[in-house]
Structure formats: structure tokens, C-alpha cells
Symmetry: C2
Subunit: 367 residues, 2 copies
């Protein structure tokens, strides 16, 4: 590490250590002349303050941790980009951790970030359920926000998308195109946000006057899920086959389109497909994918803002040295009020993968 310390700078500038520090932090007056000399010495020596020492002393690091399940997934990488961008604008930097969809590694990273004394962390959890996290959390002073995926039993705020508005629009959109048999490819059963998406779509069905989905395929968000779903779909007799399918992930939608195509069914002429997420790839794909769009941009921004707000609140309101008396309601300023869950709406983005329902019997042209 760059050997030069505040001490060397002080020596070179002919001042005391504290004066150098004062110049650096700017929280005490320094005469013009000394200031000049210090700045000069810093330049000449290429001095770079040791963030470890500083962090140790002031108990803040200006670093936020972000744990994602898979950075190679464009949804997460785009989200990460926004988060990094926003954090940077606020003077924070990001430590990005990739849990590889492993509960084990997620906990490891939590511990690591906690060790590194990040000021806050955002977790997109991979673990379907865990009490461990809550336990870990109690051992940390960092502000922790659960992002995107809900964590059951987690005490702390959550920020994510509400799949319902987009799902409603999607069903509406398909009905407008005269689709009546609308199938679903769902994500991991038991995964809380996957279930949420599924529920949202079911609810959207009912709210649009439909009864039950005629066809449901269970899966895990992956491309392969989509492919197998497509195989199954193609095997159905045409008059029972859904004319439109809503897939719970973008990847599954891609796989689905591929598979249908391989079976001689074209999208959207024979089957309309709606995906989820809305990464930049959705418009690159052919046919460009109609999707229930996640508010990636807004979600990233809000995530950082929320965590920073939590940090500010924690600073303002240090935990009482003794447990407060039951009756003693402490005054809460606007700043220190508890941060709660927040839902961001999804919305439908119509592209080329959805079209009018085929007239009955028209799919027989391949038979």
C-alpha cells in the first residue's frame, strides 16, 4: 500500500499531523498559508489517505454491500448498474457479491460485509427461507434492506416490485387480442416472489372475468423450463392448446419461443408470448418480447435512497443505553421514522411477441 502517511505529509509541509487532518476533513479552520503547504505536500507525495484507518476511527466507510443471486443475469446486472450509479452519486461505493443462488454463500457474504463494516447492505436473497439471516442481522449495525425477493421471517424493510399491475394489463391486453385460453409458465414453487407473480396473474385472470388458467407449467425461471414448456404445449391438441402464454421470467419466455419455433409453431401467429423483467435484451430478441416490465431503474434508485435513509436514521437515533420505559414514547422526527416496505408497480410493455389470437382451426395449417 502506498507507504506515505499523514505523518509524512505533515513532515514535508512542516506542520503537525492534526493540521494535515484538518485540511483533509475541513472541519476546523486552517490558515491560508499552511493550507497551501499541506495541499502541496499531498500532491508531491501522491498521498492517498488510508480508508481503513479512517473507517476505523470515524466508524463509517461510505461503502454499501449488494448481494445478488447471479450477476450474469441481465436483470440483476442492470439493477446493479443503477444501484452503483446512484450510490456513486451519493458518495458511496458498492461492494458487489454474487451468491450464485446459494444460501450458504449468501450467508458467508453477509458475514463478510458485516466484517468490512459497510454502512448498509441490500440483499436480493437466494435462500427460500432463513432465520439465520435475522440472527446475523441482529449482530450487525449496518442498515439492511431486502431487495426484490422477499425474505420470510426477515425483520427489516423490503423493497420490490408489485407484479399485479403489469399482470392485469397483460391479461387485459391478451383478451383484447381475442385470446381466451391463456396459459402460464411459472417460476420456482415455494419461492416467495415467484409465487407472488403467479398469484398476481391468477388474480388478474379473475379481475378480468376469466375463471381458471387452462394450462400451467411449473419450472424454475430458466431457459430450459421454457423449452420444456414449449415441448409440452406443442404436444397438446390444437383446440386445447393455449393461444397465449405468460411466462414468469424472461429467460423462460426465450426458451419457450425457441421450442415453439422448433415445433413449427410461430410467435405470435400461432401462440402469443408474454415474458417478465424487461432487460435490454427483450427488444433485441426476435420477435421482440412483450413483457411485464420490472421497474429496474426506479427500484435501484429507491433501494439506495432507502438504505441511505436508514443509515441517516440510525445515526440520528442511537439505540438507548438502557431499554426505554414502556410508556415513554420518544419523539420521532420525520427523518427517524421507521422505514417500511415499499412496492413499485410493474407495467406492460407491448412488443412483437403478442398478436391477435389465431382464428379457430387456423393452426391446423401445419397439421
Amino acid at each position: 500500500m502506498s507507504r506515505v502517511t499523514v505523518r509524512d505529509v505533515a513532515e514535508r509541509a512542516g506542520v503537525s499531523i492534526s493540521t494535515v487532518s484538518r485540511v483533509l476533513t475541513g472541519n476546523a479552520p486552517v490558515s491560508k498559508e499552511l493550507h497551501r503547504r499541506v495541499v502541496e505536500a499531498i500532491e508531491e507525495l501522491g498521498y492517498r489517505p488510508n480508508a481503513l484507518a479512517r473507517g476505523l476511527r470515524i466508524r463509517r466507510t461510505a461503502v454499501l454491500g449488494l448481494i445478488v443471486p447471479d450477476i450474469a443475469n441481465p436483470f440483476f446486472s442492470q439493477l446493479a448498474r443503477v444501484i452503483e450509479e446512484t450510490a456513486h452519486r451519493h458518495g458511496y461505493s458498492i461492494v458487489l457479491c454474487n451468491s450464485q443462488n446459494s444460501r450458504q454463500r449468501e450467508l458467508e457474504y453477509f458475514a463478510l460485509l458485516s466484517s468490512q463494516r459497510v454502512d448498509g447492505m441490500m440483499i436480493i436473497s437466494s435462500a427460500a427461507t432463513h432465520e439465520e439471516l435475522s440472527q446475523f442481522q441482529s449482530a450487525t449495525d449496518a442498515a439492511v434492506l431486502a431487495l426484490d425477493r422477499r425474505i420470510p421471517g426477515f425483520q427489516g424493510p423490503w423493497l420490490g416490485a408489485d407484479p399485479y399491475p403489469g399482470a392485469f394489463e397483460a391479461v387485459r391486453h391478451l383478451l383484447d387480442l381475442n385470446h381466451r385460453r391463456i396459459g402460464i409458465v411459472r417460476g420456482v414453487e415455494g419461492n416467495i416472489s415467484s409465487d407472488q407473480r403467479f398469484e398476481a396473474i391468477l388474480q388478474a385472470y379473475r379481475d378480468n372475468g376469466l375463471t381458471e388458467p387452462p394450462w400451467i407449467w411449473a419450472g424454475d425461471y430458466s431457459v430450459e423450463t421454457g423449452i420444456r414448456a414449449g415441448d409440452a404445449l406443442a404436444a397438446l391438441p390444437p383446440d386445447q392448446r393455449p393461444t397465449a402464454v405468460i411466462a414468469a421470467s424472461e429467460f423462460s419466455a426465450y426458451g419457450l419461443v425457441h421450442s415453439l419455433h422448433d415445433h413449427g409453431l410461430s410467435v405470435p401467429e400461432d401462440v402469443s408470448v408474454v415474458g417478465f423483467d424487461n432487460t435490454r435484451f427483450a427488444e433485441l430478441f426476435r420477435p421482440a418480447l412483450t413483457v411485464i416490465a420490472q421497474p429496474i431503474e426506479r427500484m435501484g434508485r429507491r433501494a439506495v435512497e432507502t438504505v441511505l435513509q436508514m443509515i441517516a436514521a440510525a445515526e440520528e437515533e442511537p439505540p438507548p443505553p438502557v431499554a426505554p420505559l414502556p410508556g415513554s414514547a420518544r419523539p420521532r422526527t420525520a427523518k427517524t421514522q421507521r422505514v417500511t416496505d415499499e412496492w413499485l408497480p410493474t407495467k406492460l410493455v407491448v412488443r412483437a411477441s403478442t398478436g391477435p389470437a389465431p382464428r379457430a382451426g387456423s393452426t391446423l395449417r401445419f397439421a
Copy 2:
């Protein structure tokens, strides 16, 4: 931050601070009984050692910095995934920084990482040229590796891909398919690795017995570049139009296919398209994209290994207190020998976007 320190643990376990530390680091014997008590106390208190304090003391952080131009680009995000994975396996964690293709932010991040006293850093540079970086570098003790994109004037090792092998194969492949007019969509002119790709393709031309490329479109790696190239291509009279195009980036290839399609030309029937990179989308795209594949996996692994090797070397061979005499050749062990540049070969991956050259006049079927 979690308030509990080594002191609290010591107190609780009824031992001295140093004993706790010895248990933690394991570099001195501790009796079984005390060991047990310490571990127990750690558990009970949820103690998490302060990495700042430790890093300050031992002058190592077990953290590597990674600066990428755009994490939302799947090539970089997949590379980042591999790097993170590999680093984690070696007990290091990664601070990921996104320079947004800005020279300014790249330098900022360099300074930041330097401040955070990371043990090493990998930089995929956005700045076409800079002496600043070299200057910054001299002020840091971290091991610095230039990754993927070469940095002119940078003193330090570089690791990246050699576009030539893949380019040669690509041209060969197209010739085998009877293509004779093969165009190029190139990346940013002046960007050193973009130029490298271009040169590699030109060289491949010559080595395959072709003279000059009949058609070159300049661009910047983006989707839009590909789209505009497609527009231009479609505007050419069919008998002058290239029957195949090699694009210097995957995104440009996507744009190109889109644009050609919009103009009523299909891929690969009318025009074959070869891209670069080989992210997971290449096979998802329709038609699946033939690409000159970057060795992403290997590159990420080697990057980490190289940096760790540099770190080990630096530790082994601390800089001499005084400048060594000119003649005094110091003995070099295998471990401490200078790390040099390394080229990893690219290779062609054939998919559906390349096919036999259309027979003369066949493209007229749309006219």
C-alpha cells in the same frame, strides 16, 4: 457496526485479548480449554472481527478491485461472475466498480480502491489513452493488472484475448460456405483492442488468400452501429452487397440482423453474420449467432490467478530500502519472476447465423 469487540470476547471468556486473537488467527497455540471458552464467547456475543482494524494492522485486506466499463453488458457481467467466483475460491472478495465508459470515473475508482487498500486490482479500461493511470499506479502498492483492453503507456502486465485465431477461423468458415464478398462492421476507431480486432480480421483475410474487404462500416460496438450498418448494407445494389459480414461486437451483430430483417433480407439466407464475444445470448438469439468467442471463463480465472501471483511476488520481494545498484542483479526465484503479458486465443463457434452464400441473383426474389 456490531459493537462487540475482541475485548468483550476476552472478558466474557475470562482470558486476555491476545488469547482471543490467537484463537482467531490460529498462529500460536492455545490450550484446548481456553480455545473452547473463546469460541463459545464468540458465538454467544455474535462477535464479528472488524476487518478495518485487521487490515490496518496486517496491511492486507484480502480484497481485489475490479473496474469494468459497463456491468450491464453481458460480456463484462459474465466475466465479472467468473472473476468473483475464482477470487472467492481463493479467499478474496471483489469490489466491483462500474466506470460507465468514463475515463474520469475510472480514475476516481482507481483512487478509491487505492484508498481502500485493496491487495490487487483488475482494470478493463475505458480510457483510450492515459498517462494519469501510470502516475496513479506509482502511488499504489496494489498489484495492478490491465484486463481485456490494452492500456497504452501502462506499465504493468496485461491479460486479454488474441482475436486472430477466431478471426482466421471465421474467414475460413465463410470461404468454405462460398462467400467471397465479406464485409466488416468495426468498433471504435482508436480504441486499441477494437483496432486489434480489425487488424486481426484483415490479417485473416490475407492469410486466407483474399485481398481487401469490400465493405467496411465504422462504429462503436453498439446496437445502433449494427442497425445503421444494416441500413447501409441493404441500400447497396445486390451484386455489390457483401454476402457475409463480420461484426466486431455481439451487440452490433444483433443490431445488424434486426436491420437486415427490417429491410426484407434474411439471415443467413441472404446475408451471413458473424459476431464477437459469445455471451449466453448468442445461442438464445434467433437465428443463434455464429461468433468469434472470447475465452471468458479462462480469462476471468487467469486474471485472478495472475493478480494473486503478483501479490505473492510483491510480498516475497519487498522493494529495497535504497535503489539497487545498476550492476547488482538480484536473484529471482520462480515465484518472483516478473509477470508478463498473456494472450488467450479466441475461437469460432458456429451457429445458425451463417450459411451458404446465396447463388448470384437469388436475393432478387424480394425485388
